[in-house]
Symmetry: C2
Subunit: 240 residues, 2 copies
DNA sequence: CGACACCTTGAAGAGGTTCAAGAAATGTGG
DNA sequence: CCACATTTCTTGAACCTCTTCAAGGTGTCG
């Protein structure tokens, strides 16, 4: 099915601290290596899984960048998140044993395939892994609360500012610049995630540039004034 | 601390099939009874937990109705969900060992307090419970995806229609009417959840009444035309 | 019964969308 | 490697939905 697969081990993966629990005994670490069945490469534009597909595994992103999106029959389309190296995707599939959204690679990517029954099996023996899995799911719930706050109460500028700050913050945690980033997604995908039309995203970028808060050359963004963006997000002037 | 507490057992709770896994052996059922430490009553308007509070337990709602909401320092306030009997709240607290939102009772309520370390302990022994916990968290993630779709791509009428249909559907699953319901929340709370102002919620209700889709007397709502509401939600005319 | 919270409705206004056109970047095939 | 097709991005102008502000009505609870 997927010819692009390689056997691997977690215990000496350089991303381990991002996607796995820390402070394990050697014994537990050995158990952990049984977690990842194989790796899988996903070409840009291809899907890792799609809505309706049988759920078998969670995926830890090793390299590359994904979006997850919900497409309904009637043509609505909502990007529910963007995921980068060290993050886990596929959690949506557990409840009904099938995925309820699409995961699309926005650049060539490689993931670790972790069969979920194996995760549950090892979780029953390794407390730290069990708690880690719970934390990952809880983190996703809290993240989505934040998106609801964004979609429910912020104006366009505030949304885009929050989006940019969130992206650089996550990239910075991975060793990239605090102020510079390359957007892996189109204006339309940003818009879908933020509940805005692509034109509004574009206009808002232009506004930020005019005001000297960022430099934008297509998908290259340099943040010139983090504080100003942060102030936008924390703005009290539009709320009761 | 909480004087209103009573010792109880899950195994013969009439809500068990809503919040607990089914098809357990008698032995497993006995283990399950260790799950609920106590029950706790929460008066209307009081909080079950608040943002920043130390996380210790998940709560299964026995009776009553809650909202969870996110209030930021700068005055933003977002209702992230409404919860009714048989539903589990508190999942947000796992990731950082403290709650990240407030849970407020919208009517007098009673919950089963399930200390999370005990949940994890028993999960390691009872496979069905382990998987059940995973499903509950995954379900919450998927539910929030749906809210993101709503907030990101629907217009006011569509949002309110989706909201009403979701509520009656859940109430119906609990043995209540398919067409009649009493709203436990204010227009403002509905608006916060749906990303609308209370006036817009009120106007949209009035519009539905004019069009003969529902009857509304304050918080009493009778749905006269479910299909019409459903068609609104599935409307293709405003999407690409 | 009076105070307070909640709801409804109107009118004006703002923010975002839609439609449209053109420019810039990207990818493809010869 | 260049020319062309395609995708992506930007910007303008008109329009529309929802918000804001305001006033009055309804319901509820001590």
């Amino acid at each position: 099915m997927h010819p692009e697969v390689i056997k691997v081990a977690c215990s000496n993966c350089n991303l381990r601290e991002l996607c796995m629990p820390v402070g394990l005994s050697d014994q537990d670490l050995t158990r952990l290596d049984e977690l990842v069945a194989v790796r899988r490469k996903v070409k840009r534009g291809d899907t890792l899984f799609t809505n309706g597909e049988k759920f078998t595994s969670l995926y830890a992103i090793r390299t590359g960048f994904f979006k997850t999106c919900l497409a309904t029959e009637d043509g609505r389309d909502q990007v529910t998140g963007f995921q980068m190296a060290g993050e886990i995707i596929g959690l949506d599939g557990i409840v009904n044993d099938q995925h309820s959204c699409d995961a699309v690679a926005l650049e060539d990517a490689e993931v670790c395939v972790m069969p979920f029954d194996r995760i549950e099996e090892i979780s029953r023996e390794v407390k730290a892994l069990q708690h880690h899995v719970h934390k990952i799911m809880s983190r996703e719930i809290v993240r989505e609360h934040g998106v609801m706050l964004l979609l429910g109460s912020m104006r366009a500028e505030e949304r885009l500012a929050a989006f940019l700050l969130n992206l650089v913050q996550r990239l910075h945690a991975r060793g990239f610049s605090q102020s510079e980033l390359i957007l892996r997604m189109t204006r339309e995908e940003i818009g879908s995630y933020l509940g805005l039309k692509l034109e509004t995203v574009s206009r808002t970028f232009s506004k930020f540039v005019e005001e000297g808060m960022v430099e934008v050359k297509q998908r290259h963004v340099r943040i010139l004034n983090t504080d100003a963006l942060q102030r936008l997000v924390n703005n009290t002037s539009h709320c009761e």
